[in-house]
Symmetry: C2
Subunit: 321 residues, 2 copies
């Protein structure tokens, strides 16, 4: 939640001259996303978002992300739409970084989602999966099962047990089980891979848009659903809210029915999703020096979610009928 790169008004005005956006009237650094520098632009033509891609986003992946947003928007999904440069490109360069401008979406993210919000997310996720079916580009998911062991080793090397005694062993056991049990023949396609509440906008209690496609990739569709169950259906006391889970799962399946295999594998996929966020948060947590002003997100929230998923036997236990 930070602006990393400052942009001078003089440089931004010169950059905008390459677009059909009229004159720059104002811009503000905004706290949106954690990986890139984002600015809200006001021009003669309205409001837009400018993103400067910082080093955590690989420049080679940008055509996938920007192309996907164009593809989904063209199929009626409400997501930011890249604005084309006069030369037809959507990717430019500003302040020494790759840069792109996208349309501004109205709407707010919901801090305390209701079952109704969870249902809307389930429906939108299925729409995204269906709309992405004919997207021609592919991008491997670096944060799926094959990416977890390097993260585990990084956490181990930084002495993860100082977060909680026994954590390293618990992670090793879970990782070994998931590597062997991970389902590899479920339906694949474009997944968002990070559809947390802050990436879903609502207006008048209706879902108004999805943002932040910078973890999107080609992977198991039902894994995306498992990520959403983790992100949307737990209470702040870390208990699972089966009413929210049912709303999300039923709404998803109403648009894209779950196969028997997907239903059966849902608990394993949920464990994997919990482990993925546990590991990345843990590495970030262990990376921060003592006394720092900014603390990363609490990794142990996902350890508690993982423990819950380990007790689950079937999709029915998540509320799926």
């Amino acid at each position: 939640m930070a602006v990393y790169t400052d942009v001078a008004a003089e440089d931004l005005a010169a950059f905008l001259a390459g677009y059909e956006l009229g004159e720059l009237l104002a811009y503000k650094g905004i706290a949106e996303g954690v990986e890139n520098s984002n600015f809200l632009l006001h021009t003669d033509r309205g409001y837009f978002i400018l993103t400067l891609y910082e080093k955590r986003v690989a420049a080679d992946d940008l055509p996938f992300f920007l192309g996907l947003m164009e593809h989904l928007a063209a199929r009626g999904l409400n997501c930011p739409q890249p604005v084309k440069h006069r030369d037809g490109q959507v990717l430019g360069r500003l302040a020494g970084r790759p840069a792109a401008i996208v349309t501004f979406l109205d709407g707010m993210w919901i801090r305390r989602p209701s079952p109704g919000h969870c249902g809307a997310v389930g429906e939108a996720l299925a729409q995204l999966h269906l709309a992405g079916a004919d997207f021609p580009l592919r991008r491997a998911n670096a944060l799926s099962v094959a990416g977890w062991r390097p993260l585990y080793r990084a956490a181990q090397a930084k002495n993860a047990d100082r977060v909680q005694p026994g954590l390293t062993d618990a992670l090793a056991a879970e990782l070994a089980q998931l590597e062997s049990a991970w389902p590899r023949d479920l339906s694949q396609g474009v997944i968002h891979a990070d559809l947390f509440p802050d990436n879903v906008f609502f207006l008048h209690d209706r879902l108004s848009g999805l943002i932040d496609f910078y973890f999107a990739c080609t992977d198991t569709l039902a894994y995306d659903l498992a990520i959403c169950l983790n992100a949307w259906c737990f209470e702040t006391d870390h208990s699972y809210n089966v009413t929210k889970g049912r709303a999300l799962l039923q709404a998803y399946a109403g648009k894209r029915p779950l196969s028997d295999d997907e239903q059966r594998q849902l608990p394993v996929l949920c464990r994997g999703a919990a482990l993925r966020f546990l590991l990345t948060r843990l590495v970030d947590w262990l990376d921060v020096p003592a006394g720092a002003l900014v603390r990363p997100k609490d990794p142990m929230e996902y350890f508690r979610k993982l423990r819950f998923h380990q007790t689950i036997g079937s999709a029915r236990d998540y509320g799926f009928d």
Copy 2:
């Protein structure tokens, strides 16, 4: 440059119901100001800025700041105008903090100001001083000469010499001289006290507005001019640009002529302004633990400016004719 307090969409919508601003359509945390949490709001009625006042701003001072913005805007100065609650108040409460909404000003701040920009700032500063003449509220300046010794003691206690050997003694000598030489009978009135480039907006190379009145107070008018000379007329190599200084001073004096005493005292006022920013930056710098992710602004920039002002004999040396 940080959003300190998160506001839930649900809470913000309830807060806005007390204003005639229509429905909330979107809001974003923005990187503006360093003392408070700021959000850009989009409602049915347009774009606005919401400020939550964090602990560094005393709640008792808010009527002064907000009243001043209303007063100046009513006299034609382009600055944010507080939006009145349905009950007529401009100060509310949100997320446990005092909160106010002000109008959104178009315009951008200039990272590399030209002499033309400096002239525009000089003129606007004089207009602010004239428009503030009949503002009825008073607020003492905690960061004028009487406030520097406590800051000096804080820096001394934190071992300022680790920033530069001999710094503590140099500060002590300068402070003693300024305490004795400080002019106390120059014209007083409302001063902005922090009119740095990031608080001045330009549009099409014309000054379009002044923002951030949260250091404004009642003090020596020419001290405000000295702050602007420090903030606007030095190059990045810390050399003084006399062309910019002349532009700023002449434009100011064109609207509000400088008395003989103000001209004579300008070098002392400039030394005081440099010492004020040197001391506050130094204390912030010494406060930050080793290894922190965020470094405060470099205090030594103002030590170099102070050294320059110590060599100056008259307003003429700053470019004043």
